[in-house]
């Protein structure tokens, strides 16, 4: 991630869009796995969105010289604030966990039947994934499973970089199809070596 001072409107907007998608996945994951730690991360990302929205507004205001500028920029600010709304909605979802609400089993059933399914898979020692960079692993394009986060020991890496190397023992939080999940489980357990396109 670049230093905040160097960010321009486009960089901020791109980060906001990415976070708004990540944070929703995390929010549903926190409920699905009843996981406080993920709920806490949602909360932190929600705060980050607040900061980014403030920053984009400040930069945009300074940049506007004419009425036309102002009109163009207000459009960007609208969309930026919509992505902050999405993050806030995600925050409300994960608050279910933070406030220790009981979760009715129909919610878990619904999350299992939804189009995009969340799963948690561990990379075992004989899996060919261990030692591969995410980009090289071709997981996204060859299984349809998208890595939301990696838990390594006590650390959790969100929206991991494509150059990050996967390791044995990593716990992947992923989103994809039922079929993709089955395939990924075989890859992670070492049952399958061939999956790349």
């Amino acid at each position: 991630m670049m230093e905040d001072e160097e960010m321009n409107v486009k960089d901020i907007f791109t980060e906001m869009k990415d976070i708004s998608e990540l944070v929703l996945d995390l929010a549903y994951s926190s409920v699905f796995f009843d996981n406080d730690e993920i709920a806490e991360e949602v909360h932190e990302l929600e705060e980050r969105m607040g900061e980014l929205n403030y920053k984009i507004k400040t930069i945009a205001m300074l940049a506007a010289r004419t009425k036309e500028d102002a009109e163009n920029i207000s459009e960007i600010l609208e969309v930026a604030s919509a992505s902050e709304d999405i993050a806030n909605a995600a925050g409300d979802i994960s608050n279910i966990i933070k406030r220790d609400f009981k979760i009715h089993p129909v919610i878990l059933q619904a999350l299992r039947e939804a189009e995009e399914k969340i799963a948690r898979v561990v990379i075992k020692n004989n899996s060919k994934l261990a030692g591969l960079k995410i980009r090289k692993s071709e997981l996204a394009t060859a299984t349809g499973e998208y890595i939301i986060s990696i838990k390594r020991g006590k650390k959790r890496i969100y929206n991991p970089d494509k150059e990050a190397v996967l390791k044995e023992g990593d716990i992947l939080l992923v989103r994809g199809t039922e079929e993709g999940e089955k395939l990924l489980r075989k890859i992670c357990s070492g049952e399958t070596d061939e999956w790349r396109n």
Binding site: V9, K10, F13, T14, K17, D18, S20, E21, L22, L24, A27, Y28, V31, E71, N72, I73, E75, I76, E78, V79, S81, A82, S83, D85, I86, N88, A89, A90, D92, I93, N95, I96, F101, K102, I103, H104, V106, I107, Q109, A110, L111, E113, A114, E115, E116, R135, E138, A140, T141, A142, T143, G144, Y146, N159, G176, T177, E179, G180, L183, N197
Partner: protein
């Protein structure tokens, strides 16, 4: 349904609400990226659908409180509310399409985002023809999620049983590398 507790109904609507709210975000950004008023119009229609779903979900959830522990049902209402906020956010994004012009920054930013949106036409010799999304296993094989098809003047987003035809215009979202993998399908 008089007096009966409809847990299955709650589950079905929850699935619909989650899927629809996510579809709306994809459609909203797509409408912006391609400056497409018709797709923005679909977002408006879906927002009305979300309102209805939300009302229905709240009603059957409250009814369920007769036998189910009320405390366990609160989370359902929280999710319903959040989905409503997301739908409104999608609407707020799509509304910009009806302005005079779209700021180029949107297009630049969306090209750099983690997940990109692409638009392609199904070729005459494509292996997609007469097959459904499920049969082709496109998401599993390419990472790209097809969420919208334009056929003639119609926009279709209920894709489960749709068999692709020549000249269908397909909108898909996914990782940048997925774009290359998709080429095997439409060509």
């Amino acid at each position: 349904m008089n007096g009966e507790i409809d847990l299955r109904g709650i589950k079905d609507i929850l699935v619909d609400i989650k899927d629809t709210s996510e579809l709306m975000i994809d459609l909203a950004y797509t409408s912006l990226l391609y400056c497409n008023e018709e797709i923005a119009g679909e977002v408006f229609d879906l927002e009305k659908k979300m309102d209805k779903l939300n009302y229905k979900l709240k009603l059957i959830t409250l009814r369920a409180a007769r036998t189910e522990e009320a405390e366990k049902l609160i989370a359902i209402l929280e999710i319903a509310n959040a989905a409503e906020v997301i739908a409104d956010a999608a609407l707020k994004i799509a509304e910009n399409v009806f302005r005079e012009k779209i700021h180029p920054i949107f297009v630049d930013a969306m090209k750099e985002a983690d997940e990109i949106i692409i638009k392609e036409t199904v070729n005459r010799n494509s292996k997609m023809i007469d097959k459904t999304v499920g049969e082709l296993k496109i998401k599993t094989n390419t990472g790209m999620h097809i969420f919208l098809v334009k056929r003639g003047n119609d926009y279709i987003y209920r894709l489960d049983n749709l068999k692709f035809k020549e000249k269908d215009i397909i909108y898909a979202e996914g990782p940048e590398d997925g774009k290359k993998e998709m080429e095997n399908f439409w060509v």
